[in-house]
Amino acid sequence: MGFLTYLINGLSLGSVYAIIALGYTMVYGIAKMLNFAHGDVIMIGAYVTFIGMSSSGIPAVPAIVISIIVCTALGMLIEKVAYSPLRKATNLAVLITAIGVSYFLQNIALLLFGSNPVSFTSVVKWQGLSLAGGQLKITGNAIVTIISCLIIMVCLMWFVKHTKPGQAMRAVSEDRDAATLMGINVNATISLTFAIGSGLAAVAGALLCSSYPSLTPYTGSMPGIKAFTAAVFGGIGSIPGALLGGLLLGIIEILAKAYISSQLADAIVFAVLIIVLLVKPTGILGKQIKEKV
C-alpha cells in the first residue's frame, strides 16, 4: 500500500513538472531559446489566482480563467518587449535576457506582494478517495492534477498536429527561414507559442500551489528548474517528451525519498539525469537533428 501511495504522489508531482515543462519545451522547440522566466510566470499566475479567490472571493474556476488571461497577456508582453528585439542576436544574449526577466518578475512580485509567504487555499475542494479501508488515500489535488495534465497534453498534441497554427508552429520549429518563405508569419507564431506556454503556466501555478500550499515571490524558481530538467530529460522540443520526462522525474524523486534517503533524493534525481544524457544525449524522446552548415 505504501508503494502505491508514493507512486500516486510521484505521479501528481510529475504532472505538475510536466505541465511546466511543456512551456519550456514548446518555446525551445519553436523559438530555440530557453525561457528561464517561465517559472516566474507560474508564480505570477498563482498570485493572481490567490488574489482572485481569497481577496475577491470568486470561485476557483473563474479565478483560474482570469489568471490564464493575465499570464497569457504577460507572456506575450514579455516576448514582445524582451525577446522579440533580440530575434537576430546570439543565443547567449537571449539567455541572459531571460534570466533578467526572471529576476525582474521576482522583484516586481516582492514589491507588490512582499516577501512574507501566503498560504494558498487549494483550488480543489474535494477531499479525495479513501480506498482499501483507509489504507490508501488519494487526495483530490493529486487526482485533479494528474487528470488536468493528461487533458492538456492530449489537447496540445491535437492542436499541434491538426490545426493551421499548430502546423505553422511545427514548420517554424523545423526551419524558420523556409517557413517564412512559405508565407508563415514567424513572429505571430512565436507570439502564439508564448501565449500558450504562459497560459499553461497559470494552470500549473494553481495546481502547484494547491498541492504545496505556500506562495512567495520565489515559489516558481525551483519547480521551474526541475521542470526544465524534466524537459531536457524527456528530450527538449518534444511534447510527449515533456510529459514522460516530468512524470519520470516526479516518480524518481518521490521513490528515492521514500526508499533510499530523503537526504539524497535530489542527488539521485540528477544522477539519473546525467546517466540518461550520457546514454542518450538528446533525452529520452529527443530527435537527433543534424546541424546543417
Binding site: 505504501g2 508514493y6 508531482l13 509567504p117 487526495t139 504545496y212 505556500s214
Partner: protein, 397 residues
C-alpha cells in the same frame, strides 16, 4: 522625451531617499535627546543598544528597544545600579552588519560602557568582533548563532544558542512524557536546522526516547513533504519534531492534515510566527508545541507587569525578543552588583569584572528560571514551551 522621463524618475528617487534619510535622522536625534537628558545628571552607567528599528526586521529591534527602556526606567526609579542611574542609548542598524558597526562606533563616541545587543545574528557577529577588540562587555538578547560567542570571551547570550535548542527540546519531551516514538523532519541545507537536529538526536538517545524516522529536505525541495510525512506515519511516530521556520511548517501542517496524520507537532523558536502566515488556516496549528522562552499570557506577576507596562507605553503585545531584552538589563544589574563596580571604572575593568561576575549569576527572569552562563557565553535555563490553543500561545507547565 525618454531622457526627460529618466531624469524625472531619478530626481524623484533621489528626493525620496532624502526623505528617508530625514526620517532616520529625526528618529535617532530623538533617541539621543532622551539619552543626553538622562545623562545630564552626575556619573551614570552608559548602556547602549543596537538593533533594527526600521527595515524588514523592525519589529524585533523595536521590541528590544522598548523593553530595555521599560527595564531601565524601573531600575532607575528603584535607585539605579549600586547607586548610579542608567543612561540608555539605542541605535538603529536595519539588521545590516556594516550599519551595525557604524551604530556601535556612534555609541562608543557617546561613551558606552556596556552593550546590550545586537538583535540579529549576522550584525551581532560583526559587532562582537569589535567589542572583543575594544574590551567592551556585550550581552545579546536574541542573536542565537554560536558565531556571536565563539572566540569572544566578552559576548554572552540571553536566548538559547541554536544547537542548544535541540537539547532542551529533547529534555522537555522526555521530562513531560509527551511521546515515546519520535519522527524528525529537518532542513539538511540549513545550519540552524541541522544544528538543532543533531543535538536533539544526541539528547533523545541519552534520554531513552526512540527516534523512529529521520527525514530531511533541502532548500531546493521545501514544498513537498508528503513523502517524509508518509514515512513518519508508517514508522508510527507519535510526535514530529520540526526544527525549521514557520514558512515550511505551515506546509507540513497542511499536508499532514490532508493525509489524516495527526501526531503531536513540536517546533523550536523558528516556528514563532506561524499564526501570522497570511491566509493560513490557524486551526491546523491547534495543539502545536513550540519552544519559546516567553509567553505573554503567563500568569506570574513579573510577566503580567511587563506586558501591561509594554502595552500601556508602546501598544501591542511584546514578543520573546522584547522579554529577553528586559531580562538583559536586570542580568547586567545583578552582574555589576556582584562585581561591586562603579561607573568610574574603565571599560576594560568593567568588561573583565563582568565576564567573571556573570558566570556566578543565577537569575530568574521572564524568559526562564535559574539562568546561568558558562565561559563560552551560552545561557543555561529551563526551557519553556507553549502550545497553540484557539489561535493563541498558551504556556504549558
Amino acid at each position: 522625451m525618454k531622457k526627460k522621463l529618466l531624469s524625472l524618475a531619478l530626481v524623484s528617487a533621489m528626493t525620496a531617499s532624502l526623505f528617508v534619510g530625514c526620517g532616520d535622522a529625526a528618529k535617532s536625534a530623538d533617541g539621543n535627546d532622551q539619552a543626553t537628558e538622562e545623562a545630564a545628571g552626575e556619573l551614570t552607567w552608559k548602556i547602549g543598544g543596537i538593533g533594527p528599528t526600521t527595515g524588514g526586521a523592525a519589529q524585533y529591534g523595536t521590541g528590544v528597544m522598548n523593553a530595555i527602556q521599560i527595564a531601565v526606567d524601573e531600575v532607575n526609579a528603584d535607585g539605579g545600579i549600586n547607586g548610579y542611574q542608567i543612561a540608555f542609548n539605542f541605535q538603529d542598524d536595519e539588521a545590516d552588519a556594516q550599519k551595525s558597526v557604524n551604530a556601535y562606533n556612534t555609541l562608543k563616541d557617546w561613551g558606552m560602557q556596556i552593550l546590550e545587543g545586537t538583535v540579529t545574528s549576522g550584525a551581532c557577529t560583526a559587532v562582537s568582533a569589535e567589542t572583543y577588540n575594544d574590551r567592551i562587555f556585550q550581552i545579546t538578547p536574541s542573536a542565537s548563532s554560536t558565531d556571536v560567542t565563539t572566540g569572544h570571551d566578552n559576548s554572552f547570550q540571553i536566548c538559547f544558542s541554536d544547537p542548544n535548542q535541540g537539547t532542551v527540546s529533547a529534555d522537555y519531551i522526555a521530562d513531560n512524557g509527551l511521546a515515546a516514538k519520535i519522527g524528525i523532519i529537518y532542513d539538511s541545507s540549513d545550519t540552524y536546522s541541522s544544528g538543532v537536529y543533531q543535538n536533539f538526536a544526541t539528547e533523545t538517545q541519552a534520554k531513552g526516547l526512540e527516534i523512529v524516522a529521520t527525514e530531511a529536505f533541502t532548500s531546493d525541495s521545501k514544498t513537498d513533504f508528503t513523502t517524509q510525512l508518509q514515512k513518519c506515519k508508517d514508522a508510527g511516530a507519535e510526535l514530529l519534531f520540526l526544527p525549521f521556520y514557520y514558512t515550511e511548517a505551515a506546509i507540513v501542517l497542511t499536508q499532514a492534515n490532508q493525509m489524516d496524520y495527526a501526531p503531536i507537532f513540536f517546533g523550536v523558536d523558528g516556528l514563532d510566527g506561524i499564526l501570522s502566515v497570511e491566509n493560513f488556516d490557524v486551526s491546523l496549528a491547534e495543539g502545536v508545541y513550540l519552544l519559546t522562552p516567553f509567553a505573554a499570557d503567563a500568569e506570574d506577576e513579573a510577566t503580567q507587569s511587563f506586558v501591561s507596562k509594554y502595552e500601556e507605553q508602546f501598544g501591542g503585545i511584546p514578543n520573546q525578543f522584547a522579554a529577553d531584552a528586559y531580562d538583559g538589563v536586570y542580568i547586567i544589574k545583578e552582574a555589576i552588583e556582584s562585581a561591586n563596580l562603579t561607573p568610574e571604572a574603565s571599560n576594560e575593568e568593567i568588561c573583565e569584572a563582568l565576564i567573571s561576575a556573570i558566570q556566578s549569576v543565577n537569575y530568574n527572569g521572564l524568559t526562564g528560571e535559574n539562568m546561568t552562563w558558562n565561559a563560552a557565553g551560552e545561557v543555561s535555563k529551563d526551557p519553556k514551551a507553549v502550545v497553540i490553543q484557539n489561535g493563541a500561545y498558551v504556556s504549558v507547565q
